[in-house]
């Protein structure tokens, strides 16, 4: 066992944080999220330039072959800065499905472009009634000529509007909630029959509802074997869950620091409000939530790389339970201790509140993972 970041990880962290501190101030972010696209091409190019887009991918495609602990370093920094670019969707979801399940031809076609910042991806998985259940897939892909034709709808696809290339979970056989019969299909976002309705989220990211009407793709559009997509989906969503856990740790760190700072500077009754014992004890509980969240996120990031599937499920769900609870606890307390100011659009803490609230539910809320944990 070893509890420290390596020198390389520390360097990665410093490089990224240096960039974010200068190029991704709260004001800069404000401008970005108000643009039509909702993210910045320049920032994306800079992330590519720094190699951040390539961290988890193999060296042969231009990546760094990094571990999930390397990615933890990245996600913590992105979380602290509340980065709105489609990093998780592209690198953590779409790119992973290709890297882990794709053919060599798909690797060659997609990964170098992705790492170079020239291709963004998204994973179209959730449907209107599927909630957090990965087996619930009713969008159908039927054989059509040499390839497949897709019909159906996906909901709240993370950064689906920004993606050049979608990975779509589609049912090629079986009933709507069968584990078998789910296939993964690559679809260009601009392909005929794809209709994207894009939405802002309250935490200033983007999601999209996407309808597929007789969308034709070739036989080489399948990732992995027909009907055998579920195991890969679960693996990648577990991976992404570990990543957002790390992102949450970064955002919780910010909430902790900002609240502590507020307690030290805001004066009422002639003294800093941090001199009030009731608030001190609650600040301590924020710290405890942060430390516990960090520990469990570390565990999840280590185990998604090293554990067998059953243990991976158990640890990732454990992590998400604690992360969801910590997101809720810290975000609510941070706003409460900031008083009215914490409610305003102009303070970063309110944005952090919203991001933490979203992460608490992303890839399954605490209830979902409690159920999964109990079954593990």
């Amino acid at each position: 066992m070893d509890f420290e970041y390596s020198d390389e990880q520390r360097l990665l962290s410093e490089t990224l944080r240096k960039f974010l501190n200068t190029g991704y101030s709260f004001d800069a972010r404000d401008k970005i999220m108000k643009t039509a696209a909702g993210y910045s091409d320049d920032v994306w190019a800079a992330l590519a330039e720094m190699g951040i887009l390539g961290v988890p991918f193999a060296a042969e495609h231009g990546g760094f072959g990094g571990t999930t602990v390397d990615m933890m370093v990245v996600m913590e920094a992105l979380g602290e800065a509340l980065v709105v670019e489609p990093y998780l969707a592209t690198v953590g979801l779409g790119g992973q499905l290709v890297a882990r399940g794709g053919s060599e031809a798909q690797h060659t076609r997609i990964l170098p472009a992705l790492i170079a910042g020239k291709l963004k991806m998204a994973f179209a998985q959730t449907e209107r009634g599927s909630r957090y259940d990965l087996r619930q897939v009713s969008l159908r892909a039927k054989k059509a000529g040499d390839g497949w034709a897709l019909d159906g709808e996906k909901c709240t696809v993370l950064h689906g509007g920004a993606a050049d290339l979608l990975v779509v979970s589609a049912r090629t056989s079986g009933g709507d909630s069968d584990e078998r019969g789910i296939s993964l299909v690559l679809v260009e976002r601009t392909a005929p029959g794809v209709k994207v309705s894009e939405y802002r989220t309250l935490d200033n990211q983007r999601v999209a509802d996407i309808t597929f009407t007789n969308v034709q793709v070739g036989r080489d559009a399948l990732i992995g074997a027909e009907g055998a997509g579920h195991a890969l989906i679960e693996e990648v969503v577990d991976y992404a869950t570990a990543l957002v856990s790390a992102e949450a740790v970064g955002a919780i760190k910010y909430a902790h620091d900002a609240t502590l700072d507020y307690l030290k500077t805001r004066r009422q009754f002639g003294v800093p409000i941090g001199t009030f014992q009731a608030l001190q004890h609650r600040m301590v509980d924020i710290l405890i939530s942060y430390e516990q969240a960090k520990s469990i996120a570390c565990l999840a990031c280590v185990k998604v790389d090293t554990a067998a599937a059953a243990e991976r499920r158990r640890v990732v769900s454990a992590a998400k339970i604690k992360i969801a609870d910590a997101c809720r606890h810290v975000s609510q307390e941070a706003v409460q201790l900031h008083g009215g100011m914490g409610m305003t659009e102009e303070l970063k803490i309110s944005h952090t509140f919203r991001r933490l609230t979203t992460i608490a539910q992303l890839f399954g809320d605490a209830d979902h993972h409690l159920e999964r944990f109990a079954q593990s």
Binding site: R200, Q268, L370
Partner: protein
């Protein structure tokens, strides 16, 4: 003790329900039930409808338009209004300014303002908090200098709810900066918001809504006749008002309606092929909120019952505020969780055809309701009050 409704009380409920059904416009009800923003006109038109019926200020003295209802009748009325989706009667005039005028106002002030408050002729708002004075209200700095028959007011108020709708604002201002205790030297002024020198600036909250404001006063001339109670004795007025301010914050009937709506949503949302409401994990959190609300409904009436005879509400309303706001927040959280991943979409970027506005409003509402434990005296301040006033600590 009997916690069942009497036949008379049930008949009263039927009467109220029937009248609301006949008088609440559908469009207005739908706006309320779908969490849409209510315009000044929306609020005032319903206020005036109630005023015409004589039901806009049940707890006022009968001579000024009160109804002489019992505590139970008042609660039944409130419950029926909320259940039906009536717009709220904004508290600042009816529940806050009016009790102050009734207790401290001159005859002239009562004659001038009370009927206009009753009839909804003026929209009142409250000027209490300042950037440096939130929980520590007595540290406020907005100053009013007496010049002849006027006060000249300069300073800034913040968190002024619905300040952009305001016709009149009641303010705490500092008329004497040299007192030993900061509580002394504060006065209570009524200010016409059309007076030159007043600027209202919106504050956008994290739900992206415009509800609160900053209000700036730049040498605003206020006739001295709009001073309530004595000069420098405004803190007495403020303390009296605090109980009334908080009395409305429990919002039990409102929470009852909202809880029923979450139950309805969770009955329709599916999880693992069954209604989410049948999922013990979700259900138990909802049940615990429901049970707290059942208890608070009784606690509320037990406490209000003790106010018979006209005693001003004391520390007991702090308890109602704490528990009531915790319940309000819990309900918005349950609603957002019931929506699951669908709660993410907030606003359409490219066309809103088929956009589900109701679901999209759940996350903003959760954000918005975080205010409930902060405003009208944060729940921390309420605990301080109970510790001191009720427990003697």
């Amino acid at each position: 003790m009997d916690l069942n409704y009497s036949p008379e009380e049930t008949a009263f409920r039927d009467e109220v329900r029937g009248w609301i059904r006949a008088n609440l416009p559908d469009a207005l009800r739908d706006k309320v039930l779908n969490y849409r923003e209510l315009s000044k006109d929306d609020l005032l038109s319903w206020h005036r409808t109630l005023a015409k019926k004589g039901w806009v200020a049940p707890f006022w003295p009968k001579e000024w338009g009160g109804t002489d209802w019992t505590v139970v009748q008042r609660y039944i009325f409130e419950e029926e209004c909320e259940a039906a989706g009536c717009p709220p009667v904004v508290a600042f005039g009816v529940r806050m300014c009016a009790p102050v005028l009734l207790r401290f106002g001159t005859d002239a002030q009562k004659q001038r303002f009370l009927p206009r408050i009753y009839n909804g002729d003026d929209f009142w708002v409250q000027g209490y908090s300042e950037p440096g004075s939130g929980s520590d209200l007595a540290s406020l700095k907005t100053r009013a200098v007496r010049e002849g028959d006027h006060y000249v007011v300069t300073g800034q108020k913040i968190w002024t709810t619905l300040g952009h709708y305001g016709d009149w604002i009641f303010c705490l201002v500092r008329t004497n900066a040299n007192t030993e205790k900061r509580q002394d030297g504060i006065s209570f002024l009524l200010i016409d918001m059309k007076t030159p020198g007043i600027t209202v600036r919106p504050i956008v909250l994290m739900d992206q809504g415009h509800e609160v404001n900053e209000v700036f006063f730049d040498e605003v001339k206020v006739p001295a006749e709009h001073l309530v109670h004595e000069q420098d004795k405004g803190w007495t007025v403020a303390k009296y008002l605090l109980g009334y301010e908080r009395m409305g914050t429990g919002r039990i009937a409102f929470s009852k309606r909202e809880l029923a709506r979450v139950k309805d949503m969770a009955g329709k949302a599916m999880k693992n092929g069954r209604p989410l409401l049948d999922d013990p994990r979700f259900r138990d959190r909802l049940s615990r909120v429901e049970v707290e609300l059942m208890a608070l409904e009784i606690t509320n009436m037990r406490f209000l019952d003790q106010l018979r005879g006209g005693r001003a509400p004391g520390a007991e309303v702090s308890l109602l505020k704490i528990k009531g706001t915790e319940i309000q927040q819990a309900i918005t959280e349950l609603a957002m969780q019931a929506a699951g991943p669908l709660a993410q979409a907030f606003r359409p970027v490219n066309g809103d055809e088929g956009f589900d506005r109701l679901t999209a409003s759940l996350f903003p509402r959760y954000c918005n309701l975080r205010k409930a434990t902060i405003y009208a005296g944060s729940n921390e301040i309420q605990r301080n009050i109970i510790a001191k006033a009720t427990l003697g600590l």
